[in-house]
Symmetry: C2
Subunit: 234 residues, 2 copies
Amino acid sequence: MTDLRPAPDAPATGLRERKKRRTRDALLRAALLLFVSQGYDRTTVDEITDAVEVSQRTFFRYFANKEEVAFAVQDLVESHFVAALRARPASEGPVEAMRGAVLAAWDTVEEAISEVVPVDLYMRGYQLIESTPALLAVHLRRSTELEEEIARLIADREGLDLDADPRPRVAVAAFCGVMRVTGRLWGQGEDTSVEAIRRMTEAYLDQIRPALAAHWHRPPAAPGPAPAASATGV
Amino acid sequence: MTDLRPAPDAPATGLRERKKRRTRDALLRAALLLFVSQGYDRTTVDEITDAVEVSQRTFFRYFANKEEVAFAVQDLVESHFVAALRARPASEGPVEAMRGAVLAAWDTVEEAISEVVPVDLYMRGYQLIESTPALLAVHLRRSTELEEEIARLIADREGLDLDADPRPRVAVAAFCGVMRVTGRLWGQGEDTSVEAIRRMTEAYLDQIRPALAAHWHRPPAAPGPAPAASATGV
DNA sequence: TGTGAAGTGTCAGTCGCTGTCACTAGCCTG
DNA sequence: CAGGCTAGTGACAGCGACTGACACTTCACA
């Protein structure tokens, strides 16, 4: 068969590959929809595979476990952030660069994932993770792995040896700790928009230096559950 | 109802109560020993119950799930830390108080847990948690709950409204982020002693302010995988 | 066009965990 | 101290996540 289709730009190889991708995507979407509509725990793997009409065994050939499918999109978002961090100018300090990267990443999540899943489905998925104990636990463990990656990146930027200088890991840990609080509080709030979490991110990061001051004599810059962004401290 | 038994000081009530406590402790110890000797995943609940000669059903009446038994001692250590934090003088700033509490808690873990389990078994258990993905995930989720408790405590100390002022949660998040890195690196090292983790804790906490400085122009105070304690920054 | 391998379905089995029910043993009352 | 109450337990059946083994279909490539 003289293959006339030039596989335009995507890595569209043989029929087999495309079929595989299709079933994987179908499983992913079906799972996400079931999860957000009826909850993670109340969704069985059989329900997912029934919706896609494959056997349960096939599901476990694509995803190591039921949790993994819930983090497929999260994976994309995380690499998106890492890419944003790599793109920060070398002139920026470590914390400055991380802050810039997070905000830039939120500004452009849509284009990073919309091919796979609409943004609001992802946001609902993120909320599901934050509110489902089993998923939250896995999320936090995955986050520590991401933290290590970021620490390596920061050490590289600064030309430091990660194992000789504790600052990269310490800075990243403090930074990510604040990010996690942000994610948690966002998940508990009502506004589930990207803008909301972006706004909160900015506000909470602005509080990190004031919060670590030796004494809190003055009230913070802008009080409130999701305070407006503005830093008194450096 | 004329209750003549004054229940002297310990909660030593009837025979029933004592029997319960005994089987619970037996399950706990058997589980911990099996976990550290052959690994968490390679230990089945049946093995644990066989060692204590009770039915599997009984195990799940004492522990909600297999993970819970691995965190029973950790629970004690965490309340020990919270108690230490409550005991800090009001004159100390938030970060100062947390730092003091952690170090004081490590100095006195032994007396806090030795009645239930020898310290080195606890330390090996802690290492197990750090090195077992399933346990690490749960550990991190539990840690966020502890974080919230600490944040409330700090807010109280400072006379602030936790939901109006972001600084308590931000400070605690940054602090606990650094603590977590410490725990992880300790788990990977060879020295599993309490002294080792105490030393690392001190060293890494000393790096939090330098690490968050806008730019890292100078090398850190004391480089090395487990740097000696000494703070350049505030 | 036939051969090998990739992908899938089926089946049986393990392990964590839960509901149910009957039974035993401490406890409490009369 | 007899008899009833109930907390704690064991036995059993069953669900859901996950795995290994094997046979079958279907694409790929010579």
